[in-house]
């Protein structure tokens, strides 16, 4: 027993040393998971903001087409100047069935001359002033889209002013006319959930999915390297000649892959929490407060899931004769983990049927959700714990059988 454990540790520590020596693996399984969420949630918005503000400096050509006999509304001149729009005024083609029909203007817009067209036609209503309008633009041109966006802002402001003037004629304010039933005070004060509870709720919507998906994906590369990779490089034969039995080799490799995948998931979660904490004020989104029971439940569910996933991936990878073949098999298999993990986010926990806690992958994701929400339902815990143990046992037994295969010694090299 002691010898067995010592050999498992020898295999695991050698594999971990081998991983640490490979900087590419460290980048792929540690650095990228750590940076991926900060990149998406912090760097990408900053980058997009920068790109958008770059467009603000462009002076764009606007053509205003106004119906014959209508007077160009002078109050638009200043907003055009403020928004860097060089405008020209033309007559509107009177043959149009409605203002949205682009007609021959489409070609000019596609060529960028002008960037955007504003069509105006005054109408008679009870409002102080009333217009029909259309903004023509080319959505595939960045400058034309920018022109459209600026024009929409100008039209909105103009409309608000007209509404204000129309209401003033009958002695009404905008709030009186448009918001007769209104909220008193700060909306956020009405929510009795603490920031920690809100955090737990929000995180329960995506942490289980991230853990499930990332555990499955981050275990692929090490699983392949330690099995099919060893076969391909011809190191497996020498290893199988040692007194370590094949189950000890499997467990050693399992520990190594589990540590690498677990580290990868932890780094990704750390990156996610950092990004969320950076974006959302702490009074809205605090650190979730979990009971000891919930934390134990969360850790246990992740651990059992990792046992299951890593064993399945090692078993599939060791059947392959080459790294390429293993990659071809394991790539699509990940979908089998990802799809249930995604669907599990949308299962209603209120009045949930018991069998969800037995269904593979769903059970662990739902267990994680309940743990993050501090829900302690003993029947649910018994179901997911029992089923997860069963799946883990089946997966490990199957993996052990694969490691007993005689052809494991064969190498394509």
């Amino acid at each position: 027993m002691r010898n067995g454990l010592s050999r498992v540790w020898t295999v695991a520590s050698k594999e971990l040393l081998d991983f640490i020596r490979d900087w590419r693996t460290l980048v792929a399984l540690v650095l990228i998971p750590l940076l991926i969420f900060p990149l998406f949630f912090i760097a990408l918005p900053i980058f997009l903001q920068g790109e958008m503000s770059e467009l603000d400096y462009y002076s764009l050509n606007l053509e205003v087409q106004i119906a014959e006999g209508d007077e160009f509304p002078e109050q638009l001149i200043q907003p055009f100047i403020d928004n860097n729009l060089n405008y020209t005024i033309e007559n509107l083609d009177d043959g149009l069935t409605n203002l949205s029909v682009s007609g021959p203007d489409a070609i000019r817009l596609r060529e960028g001359t002008p960037h955007v067209i504003l069509r105006l036609q005054q109408t008679n209503t009870n409002s102080s002033e009333s217009w029909n309008y259309a903004i023509l633009y080319d959505a595939t041109s960045e400058l034309s889209s920018e022109g459209n966006s600026r024009m929409k802002g100008i039209i909105f402001d103009w409309e608000q002013k007209i509404i204000g003037l129309t209401l003033a004629e009958v002695n009404l304010t905008k709030q009186e006319a448009l918001d007769p039933i209104h909220w008193d005070g700060d909306v956020s004060n009405a929510n009795v959930a603490t920031s920690a509870q809100s955090a737990g709720f929000a995180l329960s919507m995506f942490i289980p999915m991230i853990v499930a998906i990332w555990t499955a994906t981050s275990a692929i590369q090490p699983s392949i390297d330690l099995t099919a990779g060893e076969r391909e490089r011809g190191t497996m034969e020498a290893l199988l000649c040692t007194p370590a039995n094949r189950v000890e080799l499997l467990y050693g490799k399992w520990v190594a892959v589990g540590v690498v995948a677990g580290t990868s998931v932890l780094f990704q979660l750390a990156g996610l929490l950092f990004a969320v904490a950076f974006l959302i004020p702490s009074d809205i989104f605090g650190m979730p407060t979990l009971s000891i029971w919930s934390m134990a439940s969360l850790l246990l569910s992740v651990l059992l899931f990792a046992v299951f996933v890593v064993a399945v991936e090692l078993a599939l990878a060791v059947r392959a004769h080459s790294v390429k073949e293993a990659g071809t098999v394991l790539g699509p298999i990940v979908i089998a983990f990802i799809v249930p993990a995604m669907f599990a986010q949308f299962v209603n926990l209120e009045g949930i049927e018991w069998w969800w806690f037995v269904a593979p992958i769903f059970n662990v994701c739902l267990a994680m959700r309940e743990a993050l929400l501090n829900i302690t339902d003993l029947s649910h815990i018994a179901l997911w714990l029992g089923s997860s143990l069963f799946y883990a046992f089946i997966a490990v037994t199957w993996a052990a059988r694969q490691f007993q295969r005689e052809d494991l010694v064969e190498s394509i090299s």
Binding site: S6, R7, K14, G234, T235, E237, A238, C241, P243
Partner: protein, 285 residues
């Protein structure tokens, strides 16, 4: 008095329909240096893998006999074996010593003990300065020598060497041969698989010729030459293996669907193992 250390009793090995080894019996004695000689596909590697317990015999058994005469299935006593496979099987990102230490630890050998032993043997092979280098940049010869040190680090009774001088320069090959002879003198049993008949003659006290999965001859080089009435081991080998040789590769287990798919995508039924490819096809040199 000679003592049998490893006994191969009526062992045959089949891979599906392919009979890789046909009922072989062989006793390997303490201190023997046995040359395992045969052409490509003769069954040498299959026999070596049976000897180290990587393959289970289809019939018969391979047993290790301990000092008290008790027999043990070979896969239960692997710590008595040191193996150098043809592929050497070194981890490129580990140093030579780390590779050796990994195997010695799996053999439950203390690091200090393994280091002292490795250093002594490395000096004999003139590679003590390379023990702390990663094996990534090692030449074929360096890899062979590292694999040999790894196989010896736990002081095994039996050493199984698959082409141990393959790729080595003349001086290095001689050092390996000298080391093997020294190990034999120390009472260790060495099974030395090789294509090189001259080398087998120089190193081995006993030659086992395997051909087409059968044991064709077993005796000292001089006995084999006498038996065939020839002047050299090479002539004796040719005389004993005159029938057409086959090229049996160990077939990979294939699912029925994979067989069907191979047939569909190659456009023809695969020839059974051992059959020559059609004229115009490529033949391995």
């Amino acid at each position: 008095m000679t003592r049998t250390l490893l006994s191969v009793r009526e062992v045959s090995k089949n891979f599906g329909d392919v009979e890789a080894l046909k009922t072989i019996s062989l006793d390997l004695n303490k201190g023997d240096i046995v040359g395992l000689v045969g052409g490509n596909g003769a069954g040498k590697t299959t026999l070596l893998r049976l000897l180290c317990g990587l393959y289970k015999p289809s019939t018969g058994k391979v047993v290790f006999v301990d000092d008290g005469g008790v027999e043990h299935p070979i896969h239960k006593v692997r710590s008595n074996l040191g193996v150098v496979p043809e592929a050497t099987g070194l981890y490129a990102r580990l140093t030579a010593w780390e590779n050796i230490r990994y195997h010695s630890r799996l053999n439950n050998i203390d690091d200090k003990q393994a280091w002292n032993r490795t250093l002594r043997l490395a000096q004999a092979l003139e590679m003590e300065d390379d023990l702390q280098r990663q094996t990534r940049g090692f030449s074929r010869g360096m890899r062979q020598k590292t694999a040999l040190l790894r196989a010896l680090s736990h002081d095994p009774d039996i050493l199984l060497l698959d082409e141990p001088t393959g790729g080595l320069d003349v001086t290095s090959a001689r050092r390996v041969r000298d080391l093997v002879r020294k190990l034999g003198d120390e009472g260790r049993t060495v099974i030395y698989s090789t294509h090189q008949l001259n080398e087998a003659q120089q190193v081995c006290d006993r030659i086992v010729i395997i051909h087409n999965g059968t044991l064709r001859a077993d005796g000292s080089p001089s006995n084999l030459m006498k038996l065939t009435n020839t002047d050299s081991l090479e002539d004796a080998f040719v005389e004993l293996t005159q029938d057409e040789s086959r090229e049996v590769e160990t077939p990979e287990p294939e699912s029925k669907f994979q067989r069907f798919w191979s047939r569909l995508t190659t456009g023809r039924k695969q020839p059974p193992s051992g059959e020559s490819p059609p004229s115009g096809g490529e033949v391995d040199a």
